[in-house]
């Protein structure tokens, strides 16, 4: 325990922000930036991919389906290596590990997320889009005002778990020298040489704390949205059976 405290005391800044400001930003800061940037860029892309996969036009559907299947069938590590070594050759200039990692994460997570989005859209009762269309909303409007708000809300738990996965996936940046948390921990380990268990224990606990905090926040958010939807009544989630929003038990409220 004392070892761990010592390691933490000597290296907390390195774990937190890497060698910054004397080198690139690293540590937890870099890990979080990678994850947040990765998922927030991946999210709109995933919606686009999902819509493409659901589109009536085969010329759009097939290439995107191919991309999603292709990327989901290859380990992320390999895609990172491919991007790292191939991208500079293709565009004729060097690309930093950080940029490579962001680009790879965005495309890879977007593919995974697009399946979540697609499932979320398809899981909505058909009556919802029929109701929207029968009121005169076109495809885009019914998606924007009726389908996506519901689908994305229902997907919130899956999306957040994807975000947690993304945080964990950033560790793979280590292999292309992206200075994130795992990289920092490994630096410490290389300095100390004799205490790998303690160092990697700290690393594991740090990841756990970050991910656990985010999961808890996510649950809080979910509950809040559910409550708002019930107009601040009880924590009764609306039950939907065959496309019918079932009446809540306590229905006699203003």
């Amino acid at each position: 325990m004392l070892d761990i405290a010592h390691i933490l005391r000597d290296n907390w800044l390195l774990l937190l922000i890497g060698q910054y400001p004397y080198g690139p930003l690293g540590g937890i800061a870099a890990t979080l930036i990678l994850s947040v940037l990765g998922i927030s860029l991946a999210f709109p892309l995933s919606v686009a991919l999902a819509l493409a996969r659901l589109s009536p036009w085969a010329w759009l559907r097939w290439p995107v389906t191919g991309l999603v299947y292709g990327l989901r069938g290859v380990p992320l590590l390999l895609i990172i290596l491919w991007t790292y070594f191939l991208l500079p050759v293709l565009i004729g200039q060097t690309v930093s590990g950080f940029t490579t990692m962001i680009c790879t994460l965005v495309v890879y997570e977007a593919c995974y997320l697009s399946e979540v989005v697609r499932a979320g859209i398809q899981a909505l009762p058909k009556g919802q889009s029929e109701a929207a269309r029968s009121l005169g909303h076109g495809y885009v409007r019914s998606l924007r005002y009726v389908i996506l708000p519901q689908a994305l809300y229902n997907m919130l738990p899956s999306m957040l778990s994807q975000f947690i996965t993304t945080i964990q996936d950033t560790t793979l940046g280590y292999v292309i020298n992206v200075q994130e948390l795992t990289f920092a921990a490994n630096q410490i380990n290389n300095q100390l040489l004799t205490q790998p268990f303690q160092v990697f224990f700290i690393l594991a606990v740090t990841y756990f704390v970050v991910c656990f905090t985010l999961t808890s926040l996510a649950h809080l958010l979910e509950r809040r949205v559910a409550r708002r939807r019930l107009g601040g009544v009880a924590a009764l989630a609306p039950e939907i059976v065959d496309g019918v929003v079932m009446p809540a038990i306590r229905s006699e409220v203003p």
Binding site: P125, G127, Q128, E130, A131, A132, R133, S134, L135, G136, H137, G138, Y139, R141, Y145, V146, P149, Q150, Y153, R229, L230, G231, V233, L236, P238, E239, I240, D242, G243, V244, V245, M246, P247, A248, S251, V253, P254
Partner: protein, 245 residues
């Protein structure tokens, strides 16, 4: 107002609608009845093109709604002029009652939010739910949800309303409140086409009854004639089956 001319529809090999020729006139209330699987719902869903037809022509207010040459904007405009009420209500669960009603006038017709709200409140008053404006669909009973669904359809000020078994998903004690709203609409001169099993409603409110079986309209008659002296043997059997229980 709604005219079917030689309308035919297949689901694969199944002939769902056969040579439908009929018309709902302006201000008329038509009740479509018949055994389940007879094509009633399919028929009513072709009117705003939730179902496509294979051949024939379907005119709504002089517009060929099923024409392949309709642009999507034209189709949307037509649909916004046809109120449709579903068996399963299909309220938008993520929106409050008020927002369910104002969404379409605001987003489609560009109505000012304040104006739309005012009109929505008037509609809610009409269906007897002014006190539920801020509630969410999940907080309402089935009958209340269906009345909101009617108000939502009316918000686009459609010249005609279609009802696809509006009371079939309701508990018996809630059927009356929905039928009362529909009755009110009929009294105000709304053009209505209703698929329903509520024969009492058909008898009291309908101007004409269409009896369907196996994708055909077998009989069209005034409710008095239909209920007292049905012409077609299948209609006679249908009515006696109804009376049996």
């Amino acid at each position: 107002m709604i005219r079917f001319a030689e309308v035919n529809k297949w689901y694969g090999a199944y002939h769902a609608l056969r040579d439908i020729n009929a018309e709902v006139r302006k201000g008329e209330v038509v009740v479509v009845c018949g055994p389940s699987g007879s094509g009633k719902s399919t028929l009513i869903r072709t009117v705003n093109r939730l179902e496509e037809i294979k051949s024939g022509q379907l005119l709504f207010d002089g517009h060929d709604i099923q024409s392949r040459s309709n642009s999507s904007a034209e189709l949307n405009r037509l649909r916004s002029r046809i109120g449709f009420v579903f068996q399963s209500f299909n309220l938008f669960p993520h929106l409050s009652v008020l927002d369910n009603i104002t969404l379409s006038p605001v987003r489609i017709r560009g109505e000012k939010r304040a104006v739309a709200r005012q009109k929505a409140m008037a509609l809610l008053d009409r269906v007897g739910l002014a006190n539920k404006a801020t509630a969410y669909p999940a907080q309402l009973s089935g009958g209340q949800q269906q009345r909101v669904a009617i108000a939502r359809a009316l918000a686009m000020e459609p010249p005609a309303m279609l009802f696809d078994e509006p009371t079939s998903a309701l508990d018996p004690e809630m059927v009356g409140e929905v039928l009362a709203v529909m009755r009110g609409l009929a009294d105000d001169g709304m053009t209505m086409m209703c698929v329903t099993h509520e024969m009492g409603f058909a008898r009291d409110v309908a101007d004409r009854v269409w009896f369907m079986d196996e994708g055909r309209i077998l009989e069209t008659a005034t409710p008095e004639d239909f209920f007292t002296a049905p012409q077609h043997p299948r209609a006679r059997r249908f009515l006696s089956d109804l009376r049996a229980h």
